[in-house]
Subunit: 122 residues, 2 copies
């Protein structure tokens, strides 16, 4: 199985479903690694807002919110999408817009650390 | 549902299984965001070695290998584990040791960009 045809499988329970993915779909996959600095003391509140808003997003294969282990105000958001178009479309979903509105005043800074093409995973 | 009790759910098909997770387990979760620079022209080969070695790792909730969109030699590896102990134990698995042995000569540099505590996700 070539990397081009590997399916991005996220979640141990899905490992058994591993299968081929058309090359066109594999090539379109889109990932983001973002670092968000919360206003001092607001990280938990910001994480909650992000988590609430991202429950049902078409084309989203993975969306993980994680606390930085060494900086008390930093969150990491790692995303895997079936395409960049799905990611862009998600920004127009009502619950995502609500989450952004709720989260914005809690954010001190945001950096996109990397834009990626996810090629394999479990 | 508090963030402490949110289950890290990775993979859209698992979303329906969303449920509470004991706080002790949630607190133990462990994440890594790593940036790996391959030797020039060796990224695909390195990615294949990494992907091969990480199929069955107890306690691994997510392991995604992604190509950097702007640097042709850079890979990103993002990992979510149920505990740091599971991550450490994985390094002793035969297929992981084989992947490391295969990948090592292809690696020009490795940086752990962040160690995290994943708190929510889909």
């Amino acid at each position: 199985v070539s990397l081009e045809r590997r399916h991005v499988l996220v979640g141990g329970a899905l490992a058994a479903m591993a299968g081929a993915l058309p090359a066109a779909e594999a090539a379109a996959r889109y990932g983001l690694i973002g670092r968000i600095k919360a206003q001092p003391g607001k990280r938990a509140e910001l994480a909650a807002a992000l988590a609430e808003g991202t429950g049902q997003m078409p084309g989203c294969l993975s969306y993980v919110v994680a606390e930085d282990a060494s900086d008390p105000d930093t969150l990491w958001v790692t995303e895997v999408w079936d395409s960049e178009a799905s990611h862009k479309a998600s920004l127009k979903l009502p619950q995502v817009r609500a989450a952004i509105a709720k989260g914005r005043p809690l954010i001190a800074g945001f950096d996109t650390i990397a834009t990626t093409r996810p090629i394999a995973g479990i």
